[in-house]
């Protein structure tokens, strides 16, 4: 049935529409061109409201082994955040480490219709897909982790040709059913297994003799040559260490001009100046992003309060384990594939370091000029739970509010930050870019993140409230694939989201010819057990449809 959302102010940056009052029509799950009056169907008056495509979180830890470890580790989080079942929703809990049900419910209630798990260990991919399958309403996809697996490091040490690396990367995307490739602390997670405690961009891995720079070069090139839409997604070296800005700048240079995405860049934008040897390097980082059109970033903003950090970066998490609040942690070496670490954190506004971290994130948001290349994330839950997004949006859109918050933080951190002098306020159009149009474009989702004809009818209607936090917290209406799933912030229907993947072409026989003996000699399962078929991905997804996106260079005609 045709649905017409009539009279809303539409923000649809992918189609250049900036606050124009117009109708949005959809039928059978897809946006359609306005068929004009007399076409029938239902009309919903949304006059005065703001209409956007469904929001997309391109970096949020929603499923997989490390998330389940965090859930198990934090009964504290769950005692105070339990939700009762009702006629529509099942009982669930969690704020910092929410259950899959809570994750799907809370995202949908905020107008998010797609979420991407950015750290899927290929060896743990099945569990990740099973968890995403139990995350209702929203669409999902995952980035496969490479760059610390012994197979790739051996190939690099042996000087194998780029074509073979490309085949392996494509094979991994296919076998794990992923949409992008991520590298975490390139080579460093593996190095930690060999008792190395730090690995800077040009330091050699003690066993393989390979540098993080070489890993970055091989993977950025593979992703580029395979025409995977999303650039290599990079969690850089030396996370959280004062002075790590130099590693981050070296990481950007290591891409040699090829596309690169720097994730949770706030955690990688630290100087080592001042009395406390900890300072903001946001200006240098923002300048680097501004002058490198091949680079994009998401921020990983921190917010004050209790959360839990979960990361593939076992090297960094072991280093940070002593900072855990409550004081406990999990660090794992995983299956010659990767690693992980879980450390609960309580960020405090009266802590100099935490307060400056908060300011650094906001500085980056305000200093990076192109909203198409900076994404709104808290690196859920590492900087803060995703439920803080409406508050973050208000900080970006409302300078007076931001300065009010700035007054509350540690005074030394306030003095060490330029935040108070930054006058920029994000517009609704820019927020729509950061949270809709740009994530869809970077991931190659041609039919998402916009409201043009043919797009999936993922549509959100917000009341135009000058308090942007209140506005983005509780949308008036959320449609997913054309179905009304949320009304006034309450879920009214549970749907099953799609699973999004890419499948670049590759030489299966060649790469499996190398992989099969490797599996047989060293690993603890057969190659056939490792791979997830398309049918199985759907089964894991609780009947989700598998949507295969086209591999082509960004900007190429679809």
């Amino acid at each position: 049935m045709l649905t017409r959302l009539a009279g809303g102010r539409v923000f649809d940056p992918a189609n250049g529409i900036d606050g124009v009052v117009r109708d949005v029509c959809f039928d059978d799950g897809r946006i359609v061109a306005d068929p004009g009056p007399g076409a029938g169907g239902r009309t919903i008056d949304v006059g005065g409201a703001v209409v956007m495509a469904g929001a997309i979180d391109m970096h949020t830890h929603i499923g997989g082994g490390k998330v389940n470890l965090a859930r198990l580790l934090l009964p504290e989080d769950h005692r105070t955040s339990a939700y009762a079942r009702d006629e529509m929703l099942r009982a669930c809990c969690g704020r910092a480490a929410p259950s899959t049900l809570a994750t799907g419910y809370r995202y949908a209630e905020m107008g998010y219709t797609m979420c991407f798990e950015p750290a899927m260990l290929p060896v743990n991919a099945r569990q990740t897909h099973l968890e995403m399958g139990d995350t209702p309403i929203v669409d999902k996809g995952a980035y496969a982790l490479l760059g610390n697996d012994d197979f790739l490091l051996r190939m690099l040490a042996a000087g194998e040709p780029q074509e073979k690396i490309n085949d392996y990367v494509a094979w991994t995307l296919d076998a794990s059913q992923a949409i992008a490739i991520k590298v975490v602390n390139p080579g460093g997670i593996s190095a930690f297994k060999f008792n190395q405690r730090r690995l800077d961009v040009d330091e050699k891995h003690t066993h393989y003799g390979v540098t993080p720079r070489r890993v970055l070069q091989a993977l950025t090139r593979a992703v580029h040559e395979l025409q995977v839409p999303h650039a290599l997604h990079v969690h850089g070296s030396n996370l959280g260490i004062p002075g790590n800005v130099d590693s981050t700048l070296a990481t950007i240079e290591a891409a040699d001009g090829l596309p690169i995405h720097l994730t949770h860049i706030q955690f990688h934008s630290y100087g080592a100046e001042g009395d406390r040897k900890f300072s903001s390097a946001a200006a240098r980082i923002a300048e680097a992003i501004n002058t490198h059109p091949n680079a994009s970033c998401d921020v990983g903003q921190i917010m004050f309060g209790q959360t839990v950090t979960m990361s593939g970066d076992s090297m960094s998490q072991w280093r940070n384990a002593g900072l855990g609040r409550p004081n406990k942690s999990v660090v794992m070496d995983i299956e010659c594939d990767a690693g992980c670490g879980v450390v609960p954190f309580r960020y405090r506004d009266r802590s100099f370091v935490n307060a400056l971290q908060w300011a650094i994130g906001l500085e980056i948001f305000l200093l990076v000029r192109d909203p198409w290349r900076v994404f709104l994330t808290t690196d859920h839950p590492n900087g803060a739970p995703f439920t803080t997004y409406p508050h973050l949006i208000r900080l970006l859109m409302d300078r007076a509010f931001r300065n009010e918050m700035l007054e509350r933080i540690d005074p030394d951190a306030r003095a060490a930050s330029t935040l108070g002098s930054l006058t920029r306020e994000y517009s609704l159009y820019e927020i729509a870019i950061m949270t809709r149009a740009a994530p869809a474009r970077t991931l190659g989702l041609a039919d998402r993140g916009h409201l043009g004809a043919g797009a999936s009818a993922d549509v959100v209607v917000y009341r135009d409230d000058p308090d942007r936090e209140r506005m983005f917290e509780k949308p008036q209406l959320v449609f997913k694939g054309g179905r009304l799933v949320v009304r006034d912030g309450k879920i009214v229907e549970i749907t099953t989201g799609d699973t999004h993947v890419v499948k670049p072409a590759f030489d299966r026989a060649a790469i499996e010819g190398s992989l099969r003996p490797y599996f047989e000699r060293f690993l603890t399962m057969r190659l056939e057990s490792f791979r997830i078929s398309d049918d199985e991905a759907c089964e894991c997804g609780n009947g989700a449809r598998l949507v295969v996106h086209r591999c082509c260079r960004p900007g190429a005609a679809a």
Partner: protein, 446 residues
């Protein structure tokens, strides 16, 4: 734009890949094709079986556990006799489902336990628990909570099978029954000849703490600390104290001279990658979680200078599987109650056995599809959903035979190290329903 070979797979532009070109085995394994054995947490995926209509035989790479498991679950004679029963009488599946729903509907506080099932079964069991306000606990919880309580208190540094296989130059096995519980642990994981880092089998040093036979495969124990199972916790506490350089005002621990324990710590300290492994059921003492904490402390201390990791062994009877599903769906592990409408985790209050014995629950749903898991004796109304050989022996108000994952139908199970989930293919066609179908059916009738 859509379709191809699978209506659920949408291509946004490139043509679909024909299923055959993916080279992935389809649902059934015939002849001597390797299958994944569901009967212990190792989930060995190289077991060659020959599946016939009347029986399933393990042909190669089996062990006592897998041979017995496949023989029982594969016996067609037993499967044919298995039919749903209500109060001992044969009944239709539909009637048995209705009778089960009626028991759960009438109960003020039902207990859903056993939970030896695959991911689909666990998903369905949790949805049912949510619907009928049940308490959920796994049959293996008494042992499992020894690890869980220690984990929730401080966490630990741990590892997985392939890491242990390729890197461990020193392995300390706490308890002498690891091989009995996981028969191919030494053969496949702790003793192979080849390693990614060039570690030769002869270089691996194995320390066994406990009294029992030497492992029959893999390298022989380099060092044995012979103590009874009831003294294991003293030994690990001693090892942790030595590693932390704490003063010990005794010459012996559990009758073992301190020097022997120092030798174990020195071996680990000198290792490139030490592994400390145990199976929680072997720690048969009160508050065994303190012993697990001591292991975690030992490992943490060693990581100050070298690498060392814990490898807790579990996963048998689907305990890690149901636990994982419970954690991701609800946010909480077993011993969670849905009675109030909100999920509430309480490791002592919601101990299923304790509640059953104390009359705090008034109905039991027992799920047992992975080998031998008999329900506890109780006078309460009891529903058993189990593999056909289990159900045949059960004396319950309602008994519903279902398939075994990996024998009768495909399914997913979580392996011994919690990281790897494997898909088990069906060995042969089967008319038995899946536990998940039966559980969903019951939920829909409530």
């Amino acid at each position: 734009m859509t379709d191809g070979y699978n209506a659920r797979v949408m291509m946004t532009s490139t043509p679909p890949v024909p299923a055959s070109s993916t080279g992935i085995d389809q649902d059934s394994a015939e002849g001597d094709v390797p299958v994944t054995c569901p009967f212990c947490g190792l989930l060995c995926d190289d077991v060659a079986v020959s599946a016939r209509e009347s029986s399933i035989d393990v042909r190669a790479r089996g062990c006592a556990t897998s041979r017995d498991g496949f023989a029982r679950a594969g016996s067609q004679a037993l499967a044919e006799r298995a039919s749903p029963r209500i109060k001992g009488r044969s009944a239709s599946l539909d009637d048995a489902i209705a009778a089960s729903a009626s028991i759960l509907r009438d109960a003020a506080l039902p207990l859903i336990s056993g939970l030896a099932t695959d991911v689909a079964g666990a998903r369905a069991a949790l949805a049912l628990a949510d619907r009928c306000g049940a308490v959920v606990d796994h049959m293996n919880s008494p042992a499992k909570f020894r690890n869980l309580l220690a984990f929730q208190d401080r966490g630990w540094v741990s590892t997985t099978l392939a890491e242990a296989r390729n890197r461990a130059d020193v392995v300390v096995v706490i308890g002498a029954r690891a091989e009995a519980r996981f028969p191919r642990l030494f053969e496949r994981i702790l003793g192979p000849a080849d390693s990614l880092v060039g570690l030769a089998a002869a270089e691996r040093r194995i320390v066994v703490v406990g009294r029992g036979p030497n492992p029959s495969t893999g390298p022989a124990a380099t060092l044995r600390i012979e103590v009874d199972a009831t003294q294991l916790h003293d030994v690990v506490a001693g090892l942790a104290a030595i590693a932390a350089k704490r003063p010990i005002h005794a010459a012996q621990v559990a009758g073992i001279p301190l020097e022997r324990l120092r030798a174990v710590v020195e071996l680990l300290r000198g290792a490139r990658y030490g592994v400390v492994t145990w199976a929680a059921p072997d720690l048969e003492v009160a508050h065994a979680e303190l012993a697990v904490q001591a292991i975690a402390r030992l490992v943490a201390e060693l990581n100050a200078t070298t690498r060392c990791a814990a490898l807790p062994l579990g996963g048998t009877d689907g305990d890690f599987t149901a636990d994982a599903v419970s954690l991701w769906q609800t946010g909480l592990p077993f011993r969670t109650s849905f009675a109030s409408g909100k999920p509430r985790f309480e490791p002592w209050l919601h101990d299923g056995r304790r509640m059953l014995q104390g009359g705090e629950v008034d109905a039991l749903l027992w799920i047992a599809t992975l080998g031998v898991q008999a329900p506890p004796k109780t006078a309460l109304p009891t529903i058993m959903i189990g593999s056909h050989d289990q159900v045949a022996a059960a004396d319950c108000d309602v008994a519903i035979p279902v398939g075994t994952p990996g024998i009768d139908h495909a399914g997913h199970l979580v392996r011994v190290d919690k990281v790897v989930t494997l898909r088990l293919a069906a060995c042969r066609p089967s008319s038995l329903p899946r536990a998940a179908e039966v559980l969903d059916g019951i939920r829909q009738r409530i």
